[in-house]
Symmetry: C7
Subunit: 96 residues, 7 copies
């Protein structure tokens, strides 16, 4: 299969562990070279976090396992970039 180079995830997590430990834990997962977690929304019990993960050849199962080990769940995979290089998404008039 082609190399997965970037994924953007919509993640739900409890308040604990906090975002810093949570993001560090994802960045620590096998095949990940960097991860950024961004708080999007929160209520009393749960945080909605947007996570962007990069690597040369991402092992998504390792990423997902790391997220679940940290108490989170991947609610949806919103973007995936695969191949020899990262292709940026192009918008067109049909997007609106």
């Amino acid at each position: 299969m082609a190399d997965t180079r970037r994924v953007v995830l919509d993640v739900l997590k409890p308040h604990d562990p906090p975002l810093l430990r949570f993001t560090d834990g994802i960045a620590e997962a096998e095949s990940v070279t960097g991860a950024t977690g961004t708080l999007v929304e929160l209520d009393e019990d749960v945080q909605n976090v947007s996570v962007t993960v990069e690597g040369e050849n991402l092992d998504f199962q390792a990423v997902e396992a790391a997220i679940e080990d940290l108490g989170g769940t991947v609610h949806s995979v919103d973007q995936v970039a695969s191949g020899d290089h990262v292709v940026e998404r192009r918008r067109t008039p049909q997007d609106r």
Copy 2:
């Protein structure tokens, strides 16, 4: 014919295979150097995904076959860049 270097596709796909495997599969197609799949909309049965594909000389039939083998259909081809280099689309006042 001139080389096709980038295409932006509006694709419908079932929930399975998920976006990651779907995008990897497109990136794996003959002539493709990179692909990015972006979730645009989803309902119970189907996902609407915007796919940007790049290559030096894209074989669109191979791309379309890969999408169909993965259970998807190309709903429309929204942008195509062809030639010796990629030309970026220019907007003018006539666009609005």
Copy 3:
């Protein structure tokens, strides 16, 4: 005359040939180094496509002939860049 280096065209085309073959055909025209076709609007019979064409010294008649051979018509020429280099359009407060 000065060299024509970029033109932005508002083109009407039938659904067939599809955008990919249509854009490749324009990129193949004499004097063209690259072309990008973008789907703007479509109804049952016709597609409205914005086409940006670049070359060192574009032969517009060859471009227009290619479009017509492919069943399309140039509805309007919306921007032209000519000379020794491409000048980007500058907007001013008078534009609004």
Copy 4:
């Protein structure tokens, strides 16, 4: 006098000659290194075109003569950049 390096013109022209020949003609004028003509508005008789012209030391009279030889008229000069280098306009809160 200082060198004029860029002018942005609001031009009215008849439909004929078309924008391509019109822009090429301006780019051909003495002292011009590049010109871009952009269709802004059109009615039955006339086209309103925004023209950006660049050169090391523009001879505006040659530019205006070229426009008039092509049947156009300079409706207004909307921006001028002069001197040893092109200064980009800076916007401030006083602009609104």
Copy 5:
């Protein structure tokens, strides 16, 4: 654990020490290479400040301790970038 490289914090602080001394104090904390404090809102007693902190391997406890020593409290951690390099957050249509 992976290296924490950037954190964006929502901080509440009293009016004293003022923003300059407050930001300098954070930048002085162990492991921090740079910090920027931006006043977002203020009322009679408290200032709401957005703080962006960067380092090769941030010691968040040292950052938080510095903030608390300066009389502030971290109201929330809004973004964290971890790993071998900083990954920029990518937005998708699912964000809206």
Copy 6:
């Protein structure tokens, strides 16, 4: 005193001399390396022009004298950049 490197001026001028000669005249003033004049508004008698002037060490009195010699008046000085280098203005949430 520190070197003045860029000023943005709100200028009123009669229709004559036209913007091109007016901007060239400012660019010609002692200490000016480049000037850009942009038409903002006009009525029957007067034009409101935004002028951005750059130099290594601007002599504002020479700039103002040039503007007045050309029949214009400096209505307000809207931005000034001084020092060893040009500092770009930073916006913050307090600006709105």
Copy 7:
């Protein structure tokens, strides 16, 4: 303490000295390498000016003294960047 590298100030000043002399005077202050003053609002008696000041190791007291010597007052300090390098503020969804 860490080096202060950039501050954004909301300043009130009388009409005299004018913005040019005012900004030059700030840029002349000890430790300042550049300053930009931008007119934000004005009424009959006072001008509200946004001032961005940069230096390798800013002496804020010298900056404030310069502003006060020129008749102005620092109404608020809206942004401060400190450390070995300037960190740009990052916005997150929590900002809105």
